[in-house]
């Protein structure tokens, strides 16, 4: 939802609640909170028009820390709860903060169904590849082999890749960011806020206690340029400390090439976030470290009517055709008879 309400401009601080924040020192959630407040201020939606909805998890504590309306629901059901809110109140800006367990384990089904209906909700998935609140069991995004409280010999479940799942359900807005790259995170969050329809954002989030360093490769000073690739619409896929590496298509498969000799920028795969078919976005979602740099930014951003708009069309259409419903007509519809 995007309302640049002409009103006394709010500052990020205005979006802070009175509750003191209770995440562990070093938790990536702090940075996401800070950037979200900044974006809310930028987008300029009045505080009372915003609702944050969550399930259960460290990430799901989020609504307590923003001064908007908030609903801390049950585990995994944030998206269906948010859908109920949006469908009955399309005037509200609805945000969901959720975890990799909350959204992809117990809540996986609600996620793909909200996405396919394209309900206008901004979904921030805090992916720390672990169950934080319950103290360190593996999650659907934990890498195979990882030893956790519930997998002393290592994870044997093949992980789900959040963006691939979202694209499998044909999401209209799909993006990725990482907690510590705050500028880019804020940029992506603002793009999500301005998209009409379900905006799905995966945020790499460091769990300092149970999965410290899980994203070291993507955030480390001297590794990040080679392990991540920042997408730009209509630009070729270039990355690397020296910006001399790129992604080229070999048939249907991406390959890493070095920009030298006969390999020019024009030979590279160009990003097009508006491509109607999600196949490119899907292919990008398949690029994983270490084989590939992991794309960051907006993978896909296309228009499709939202569920609630289509519903309101039917409702308003019905009112136009049949007129505001009147109870007397309702009661007397069908065969009636009178007893004197």
């Amino acid at each position: 939802m995007t309302t640049d309400a002409a009103q006394a401009k709010l500052t990020p601080r205005d979006f802070a609640s009175t509750q003191d924040v209770r995440w562990c020192p070093g938790c990536g959630d702090y940075s996401i909170l800070a950037q979200t407040k900044k974006v809310l201020a930028n987008v300029g939606i009045p505080r009372e028009k915003v609702v944050f909805v969550s399930g259960i998890g460290c990430s799901s504590r989020f609504p307590y820390y923003v001064s908007t309306y908030g609903f801390h629901g049950v585990h995994g059901r944030a998206l269906s709860t948010a859908t109920g809110i949006r469908v009955s109140r399309p005037d509200l800006s609805v945000w969901v903060t959720t975890g990799d367990g909350d959204a992809l384990s117990i809540g996986g089904n609600h996620l793909i169904h909200a996405i396919r209906r394209n309900v206008d909700i901004n979904v921030l998935l805090f992916n720390n590849r672990i169950y934080g609140l319950t103290k360190g069991q593996y999650s659907p995004t934990s890498p195979p082999g990882k030893r956790t409280k519930s997998t002393p010999q290592g994870v044997i479940d093949f992980p789900l890749h959040p963006l691939s799942v979202a694209i499998g359900a044909e999401a209209t807005f799909v993006a990725r960011a990482v907690d510590v790259n705050v500028k880019h995170l804020a940029h992506v969050l603002e793009r999500a806020a301005r998209h009409k329809g379900t905006s799905f954002v995966e945020i790499y989030q460091n769990c300092a206690i149970f999965n410290e360093g899980a994203f070291e490769y993507a955030t480390g000073k001297d590794t990040k340029e080679d392990t991540t690739l920042y997408l730009e619409h209509n630009h070729p896929l270039i990355f690397g400390k020296h910006r001399n590496k790129g992604i080229r298509l070999a048939g249907m498969d991406p390959e890493v090439v070095t920009l030298e000799g006969d390999v020019a920028e024009d030979d590279l795969l160009f990003h097009d976030e508006t491509q109607a078919e999600p196949s490119l976005a899907y292919l990008l979602s398949r690029m994983h470290y270490p084989e590939f740099p992991e794309p960051m930014g907006v993978f896909r951003c296309v228009e499709r009517p939202t569920y609630e708009d289509l519903l309101m069309e039917q409702i308003n259409g019905a009112v136009e055709k049949q007129g505001e419903g009147d109870l007397k007509d309702l009661f007397e519809a069908g065969d009636t008879w009178v007893v004197e």
Partner: protein, 624 residues
């Protein structure tokens, strides 16, 4: 039951006319034979004629079982009378069977000496085989117990409709009207209502309209002219409160009630649900009323449905869901969230045969305890139960009345019998319906989300209200402020407060009325859909002078305040239930009162006579 008999005046037929107080007719045939339509037509005609009516359809549990098989038989039972009717009738007085399978599946319910009309054309070898008859029941004397009339319906119908220009199959499809016409003659029903309906329905296809009308008349005049019928029956109009009426099933009435409540409160009705038999028709009905700002949401499952309803309630809509047992089980956790967040919503549970998938198309009353206790922690809420199909309307409105007045989820229990059964509904004057005036707070000066009013209800804030921004959720709340709080004493107090709030609803309930004497030997206590059978049985017993009274519960939690005192005034208490004693355990627990449970868990409602017999048995001291 016979009132008087005299020779027929009307037609030339020499039949005797017998006047009776009520008649139960059942049409049965293949799913394709249009039996539901025939039954509905005769119901409407009888209602317009001035009789009281009560009906129950009996669909096959398979979608479309093979033609002519037992699994494919569809039936429709109509009870019409010259006095108040509360059930479709214990026993069938007249059975119209369109094929051998239909006969086989239904003949057991036909009363001894009852009228049995069969479509003799359909008794071919193949059909007999499909029905599993080794020999033709129409030959031999297996059916001697009944007034058997073999009518070659196919042939007669075809002859009557000859030259209609319609295909043979199209003509054959009219045979239900032939059968209907025949029953109209047999029970002295006017043909006009149905003729008008045909006109209205097929007006655009004159040939079809014409042929159906021909078939109807052909059936009627066949009865008059064919010499085979020895009797006719007439049922005088009933004394019914004047007013405008329509027929409603329980599910229709529930949908009407939900819409009415929302409209009366000038609210959006949000209905989040997942289809499940026998609740789905509520969704179907509601989805057809979008111009009443009804927003139906078919969710991916019951958990999504329930949480979407919680979200909608938080957002300020009149939020409701409908489901049946298995769905209610899945909603348990989310209902607990609704209890903790103290938001208003209505959960309609159309009970069916359990446990597990059980007998999905059959009726039962076995979700009472799940409704009461099927949540973790101490999670009290309000539970209502509708007594008749039309009562579903009143109770749906009442459910929303309580939900918003006390800021609580309310479970409304109905069941498959109410959902599909139908009765006349006296259309209420809109002005006479309950008023809803809902006040959402609008000013922010130190607003406290969990501050309670004298009814212990917290305020219902609309998101979007400036200055009232706040957060709620499933964690324990600090009294008044609603912040997350783990303090021992606070938790203890909040658990008590939530219980007291629900208990307090009792102060707003209508008094519980006794049918019969205010005290005595035996009290029958019922709840929900057993109302019709129990009340009729008690009335009949009282006519016989038996010292029996009854109360019927439409409020399960909290119970009406009078109940405890009433129970004490009777020597014995009988509690018939379509379960294994769920209300019995509630009564024992509340009142430490020994009561006699009477259980029928067969997927079918009680028959009046079953309860009558039980009452007599208890009064004859066989029990207790």
């Amino acid at each position: 039951m016979v009132v008087s008999t005299q020779p027929d005046q009307s037609g030339k037929g020499a039949q005797q006319v017998i006047e009776v107080e009520e008649i139960a007719v059942r049409f049965c045939g293949d799913s394709g034979d249009g039996m539901q339509l025939a039954g509905t037509q005769m119901t409407n005609t009888s209602a317009v004629f001035g009789n009281d009516v009560s009906t129950f359809p009996d669909y096959p549990s398979e979608i479309r079982a093979p033609l002519g098989t037992l699994a494919g038989v569809s039936g429709f039972q109509l009870n019409f009378g010259s006095h108040r009717l509360r059930t479709p009738g214990d026993q069938v007085n007249a059975l119209i069977a369109m094929n051998p399978a239909a006969l086989r599946a239904n003949v057991a319910d036909l009363e001894h000496g009852g009228v049995l009309i069969v479509n003799s054309d359909a008794f071919t070898q193949t059909n007999l085989d499909k029905a599993g008859y080794t020999e033709n029941p129409l030959d031999g004397d297996g059916l001697n117990a009944f007034k058997l009339y073999k009518v070659p319906v196919d042939t007669l119908n075809a002859e009557a409709c000859a030259g209609s220009g319609l295909s043979g199959r199209a003509v054959a499809r009219c045979k239900n009207f032939f059968a209907l016409g025949l029953s109209y003659w047999l029970y002295g029903r006017p043909m006009d209502p149905t003729l008008n309906w045909i006109e209205g329905k097929f007006g655009t296809k004159p040939a079809v309209a014409d042929t159906n009308a021909k078939a109807l008349k052909a059936g009627y005049y066949y009865g008059e002219t064919a010499e085979i019928f020895t009797h006719r029956y007439v049922v005088a109009p009933a004394k019914i409160a004047p007013g405008k009426y329509r027929k409603v099933s329980g599910n229709e009435a529930t949908a009407l009630g939900l819409i009415a409540a929302a409209r009366l409160a000038k609210k959006t009705l949000f209905y989040g649900t997942y289809p499940i038999t026998p609740a789905s028709d509520i969704l179907h009905d509601l989805s057809r009323h979008k111009n009443y700002d009804v927003r139906t949401f078919q969710a991916e499952d019951e958990i999504a449905a329930m949480t979407s309803v919680v979200g909608a309630a938080f957002a300020g809509a009149f939020a409701a869901t409908g489901t049946s047992g298995p769905g209610l089980a899945l909603k348990s956790e989310a209902i607990g969230l609704a209890v903790m967040t103290e938001l208003p919503m209505v959960i309609v549970n159309v009970q069916r045969g359990g446990p597990s998938t059980g007998m999905p198309t059959k009726t039962e009353q076995s979700d009472l305890l799940q409704s009461l206790c099927g949540r973790h922690g101490e999670a009290p809420l309000c539970i209502l139960a509708a007594a008749t199909p039309a009562d579903c309307f009143a109770m749906s409105i009442e459910a929303f009345r309580i939900a918003v007045e006390f800021m609580t989820p309310v479970i409304l229990l109905t069941d498959g019998y109410l959902a599909n059964g139908a009765e006349p509904w006296r259309i209420p004057d809109v002005a006479s319906l309950p008023k809803f005036d809902i006040k959402h707070p609008t000013t922010g000066d130190d607003f406290k989300p969990y501050l309670r009013n004298e009814k212990l209800a917290r305020q219902w804030v609309l998101p979007g209200t400036k200055g009232l921004e706040h957060r709620v959720g499933g964690l324990e709340k600090r009294d008044v402020t609603g912040e997350v709080c783990y303090e021992p004493e606070n938790h203890h107090r909040m658990v008590e407060l939530r219980q007291q709030k629900i208990a307090g609803i009792a102060d707003t309930l209508p008094p519980l009325e006794v049918l019969g004497d205010e005290s005595g030997k035996l009290l029958v206590v019922g709840w929900g859909s057993t109302y019709g059978a129990i009340t009729t049985a008690v009335e009949r017993c009282r006519k016989k002078g038996l010292p029996v009274s009854s109360v019927h519960l439409r409020y399960i939690d909290p119970l009406q305040k009078e109940l405890g005192g009433i129970l004490e005034r009777y020597e014995q208490v009988l509690v018939p239930e379509m379960n294994r004693g769920q209300l019995v355990s509630v009564l024992r627990n509340h009142f430490l009162r020994d009561v006699t449970g009477f259980y029928k868990v067969q997927g079918k409602p009680f028959l009046i006579k079953e309860i009558e017999a039980k009452i007599e048995e208890m009064l004859n001291g066989k029990e207790s």
